[in-house]
Homo-oligomer: 657 residues x 2
């Protein structure tokens, strides 16, 4: 019903399968009024539309036609159609002339592709008591709808709408309840007032709390969201579907949508985008037109802009730079920037979904980038790494730092005493924005070299580096800091260090450090024993293969310097760590397939190391921890646990062969 | 030849007039190869193109055709054409087979609209000696060209190219020299290597230093700049023309331009914009096409994107939010963000061009916004304002703060002693991002209420506020700080203040404070004497008119709360300040026109207060400081001094009437 094709953090490109065809998500569903269809929205990129079953139900003529000829004929659209149930009318008029069961039945009868139960949309910032009471009804009706659909063996897909007003625990509770019902799609309801009043910060709280408990296996629909300005942010929070009448309502009011906000035609002297309408007409042309023609052209522009933004978002997901797009879009309005800053409170929720390695570089776009989960993840990994007695901190060079670090390293300062320290017993790290401290041995591992930031620091950057330094100085006996850093950060209480510092590159140290960083402490020692033999690329000088004698242990991937296990490497890693670390555990039935090197599907996974992230190298074992195979995880641990379809691990090799 | 229609900071919308028609600037001139024209670029928005006169000159067939039929026929373009002189070829091959005079003569002969002298493009980061030597020749040839054009009474407009490599003093020297020659257009040359290597920070230095000395009356052309990613930044620095072969060169290489960077077709799964090409075709469609067809379609996309960006930039100038667009665009790449941070070093250069009041609000888009000139300007004004003995600092409310500040103001803390202070002898100010301290009396003056920023502070914001507080605490005996600020900024050494604080609104204080802020210290006392009578809007409660008895002194503009002088107000202001403060001085010839209330043209202005900015209310006087009229300045002082055409002051009234 819903397949995920590509992911970046919580954002995903998916395919929603319906009776009337497939929909590529993230998607926008233009709202079609059942009585009048101003535009053939399919022509401008719509693959799915939404209309209101209750409005049809209430109008005898429409109702009869829908029953006789079907919904698709009624609104003249051959692709997938979602219908709403009258909840909105309920929230506005306080009552509707239909029951939950009736509206479900009616939606199936008129052959909608996706129907909706009659939930109670509870406005933001209401009294808690009201929100709780409403929620009880919403949940009861959702249960009723799911059961009724099963009972009647209905064909249509079913929406169960998440409510709970701005009470975050209620949103979580509702999402959890509904996820257990296993409906087909999960709309997030009653957020329009938040968007209309630019309360994007609260929108982030509502959506992120909902997402904490909402199944990852189903599409999520942010109801009433139709302004392209917020699409990227909402996709990054995990939303797959948007709907809106904005394209036509704004057009009727002579307003043009854009990712930077809304333009009033009366203020325009230039057309603001590259679409057909903006290139063919001038604002004066539009102003001189009859109202209806103008409205249609502006609506076309609005659709062009919206669908272009969704294409760009999908491309950003494929490219792995969705967050960069979000950070750019959130500069369009201070309320969006506030929302982005709020998103920093959910960094560890996002981290679970963040691939370990991506093809695009990490771009720092401003102080807010320092809250991104890649940075938190690195810091956490670094805390856990084995440490020498002393720390020597170097200023950034070109990247990879280790390639451009050699010879005498210049002047250093020390905190406190000025005794000669044991260089052999020292970690060498570069201090840089945005990743803080980067050990020279692992500096080529993604994203520690695959990133870019301005060399001019803002105050946030300086404080970030100071805090980093402060924390890590606690872990070492003696710290030496390069004079350039002392100067740039204006560090006080430093004394000049009188002895020369040199960094000695050591390939064995390097591969061991990478192994520890990648698989956990001790992995390096366990993997690289015996007669270590390192083969490098003749062209780039980079490590490519590591052998024990003639037995391959790992390959090193050139693009991100992660280690790819060989059969021997897998065995050694398996021995080095206890169940379930670095492991995906499959059930008995799938054992022979795994042994044969077949890929592992989610539904056969019974347990896995919760630290697994997509693109990690993992071991595949059975419940008795027998090593069956090894491969690359396509999903994060939390996703593997949830999904019942699709591949979890792309197996590199089974242990049978 | 060049008229400015709208301005925002140093960015301007202009019209460049040529024999072959008008060009709206900022404009992009697609490079047309004299031998092959792949696309009819006019169809995609080009109003002017650029081609290479030297390549035509060197090819006998082309040369003869150009002489016989004219350049426009040769490249099949009926609009304005600019020609380059072979300088580029000179820089690549070290020599060209043409002299400066010959190439000037040839360009006039083939009827180019804008010709170029044979300057020496000096690459960035060369030895100083080379840059100096090259510059000498460039300047000598520019002089020769200007003289030759005059001598021969040539019709074509003439480019004089600014060189000087990355030596900023040489760029300034060159710009100053060339400005004195009074050529028609000023290209800034040899910056392509900076752009190709993402040295945007150095580009900012080169362009801003050039701009320091370059005439504002002429269009400036950033030579070889053709990537839409940098258009907004460059327009904000004062560039009017761009040119580039990028649209076609990138297309030949299957690369698609966008304001976010460049997309390689091979990596695309979605088309990235709203243009006709992106809506009609998929990346797969393009990949399946014959090379030439694909190239033409991608080139069309590239042109659509580029011209759309220029339209959006022009609209931003009309709207007065160009800097917000720049700040958004500069998030596309860390090197652009670095450039934007570098631009902060030129804030006071930009301030001279920044209108005092605009129709759009100031949006804070990140830490970099705190360097914007509006903020520096306010801080400077505030330093100069008359001060009471004590300062009481309030947390932000909704805006305008003064409207939402009343009754008991809550808990306060004091630095040091805890004696009761004299509230009457205290200034009340709100502390907020992005404008720091805002006296309650002037809080409705643009942009102190007309701005928006996140309520969640980053470290830069906190340090900004702390610094502000620290500086202004020096100017007062006692400071009281509201508990919410003490908490938010984690201020130490504060003692609870035991007495109640109330703020008493006082309209007379308010208008006097605004007058002081607007016109300078003492303006309030001078303007508002006698029987002060304040008339407010019945609808909004805002002050609209201020009288002395029945004589109108000022009106207050509702949108920005600036004071608009009446005849009596002008007289009082004139008496209060010495020549040339708040004054524009016109020559003898224009005296009768000014007295009659006719608007003042730049060429009649002999002197003016250097603190005048566009949209300021100013006095119009003669050299003997006789008050002739008063009105609104349309330009900043530095522009009034430079321009010889166009209006400087929109006169409200002459003193004769």
């Amino acid at each position: 019903m819903f397949q995920i094709k590509a992911k970046d953090g919580k954002g995903r490109v998916g395919v929603l399968k319906t009776k009337h065809g497939d929909v590529k998500t993230p998607a926008l569903m233009p709202v079609i009024h059942p009585r009048k269809q101003a535009l053939d929205v399919a022509k401008y990129g719509a693959e799915i539309v939404i209309t209101n079953a209750y409005l049809i139900y209430k109008d005898n003529k429409l109702k009869q036609k829908a029953i006789d000829e079907g919904l698709h004929k009624l609104i003249n659209f051959n692709g997938p159609i979602m219908t709403d149930s009258g909840s909105f009318q309920l929230s506005v008029y306080g009552d509707v002339e239909i029951t939950n069961k009736e509206v479900i039945e009616f939606q199936e009868l008129i052959k909608t592709d996706i129907g909706t139960s009659l939930d109670i949309p509870t406005a933001p910032f209401v009294e808690r008591e009201k929100a709780e009471k409403d929620l009880e009804i919403t949940l009861q009706r959702a249960r009723e709808a799911v059961n009724y659909k099963k009972e009647q063996n209905m064909e249509m897909l079913l929406n169960s709408v998440v409510q709970g007003s701005t009470f975050l625990d209620l949103r979580r509770e509702c999402a959890k309840e509904l996820s257990s019902l296993d409906a087909d799609l999960y709309p997030i309801g009653a957020v329009v007032p938040l968007m209309e009043s630019y309360h994007y910060k609260d929108l982030v709280d509502v959506v992120m709390n909902t997402m904490k408990e909402l199944s990852d296996t189903r599409p999520r629909h942010l109801m009433g969201a139709g302004h392209p300005m917020i699409f990227a942010l909402c996709v990054a929070m995990g939303c797959d579907l948007f709907d809106s009448a904005a394209y036509i309502l704004y057009a009727e009011d002579d307003r043009l949508l854009s990712t930077r906000g809304t333009f009033k035609l009366e203020n325009l002297q230039e057309m603001p985008c590259s679409c057909e309408i903006c290139t063919k007409y001038t604002p004066d042309d539009l102003r001189a037109m009859p109202k209806e023609k103008r409205r249609d052209l502006i609506a076309q522009h609005n659709l062009h802009v919206s669908f272009a933004e969704l294409r760009l978002i999908r491309q950003a997901i494929y490219d792995g730079n969705l967050m960069e797009l979000v950070e750019e879009r959130c500069r369009a309005h201070p309320a969006l920037l506030e929302a982005q800053r709020q998103l920093a409170n959910y960094t560890m929720d996002l981290e679970k979904y963040e691939p370990r390695s991506k093809k695009s570089a990490f771009f720092y776009t401003g102080a807010e980038s320092l809250s991104r989960c890649e940075i938190q993840r690195h810091m956490q990994k670094l805390r856990e790494m084995p440490k020498k007695t002393n720390l020597i901190i170097l200023p950034p060079t070109r990247k990879p730092y280790s390639k451009f670090t050699s010879g005498k390293l210049g002047e250093f300062y020390t905190y406190g005493s000025n005794n000669e320290i044991n260089i052999e017993d020292s970690d060498f790290m570069v201090l840089d924005i945005p990743f803080g401290l980067i050990p020279l041995e692992i500096d080529e591992v993604y994203p520690l070299s695959q990133n870019d930031a301005p060399k001019t620091y803002d105050v946030d950057s300086i404080e970030f580096l100071e805090d980093y330094l402060y924390e890590f100085s606690e872990y070492y006996d003696e710290i030496l800091i390069h004079s350039r850093i002392v100067k740039k950060l204006e560090l006080e209480n430093c004394n000049k260090y009188d002895f020369e510092i040199r960094y000695k590159k050591d390939d064995v140290k390097k591969i061991k450090a990478i192994a520890d960083y990648q698989f956990g402490n001790g992995a390096g020692e366990a993997l690289f024993t015996g007669n270590i033999n390192i083969e490098k690329s003749k062209k780039t000088g980079k490590i490519r293969h590591v052998y024990d004698g003639k037995t391959l242990i790992v390959n090193m991937r050139a693009s991100d310097s992660y280690l790819i296990l060989s059969k021997e490497g897998a065995k050694r890693l398996h021995k080095a760590f206890n169940y379930p670390k670095n492991r995906v555990v499959v059930n008995e039935d799938s054992e022979p397939f795994a042994l044969d090197g077949k890929s592992v599907f989610c539904k056969f996974v019974v347990e896995c190391d919760e630290n697994i992230r997509s693109n990690d190298e993992v071991l595949i074992v059975n419940k008795q921890d027998k090593l069956l195979a090894y491969g690359k995880s396509l999903l994060g641990a939390c996703e593997i646990k949830q999904f019942n379809t699709g591949q979890a691990i792309k197996t590199r090799k089974g242990m049978k062969k």
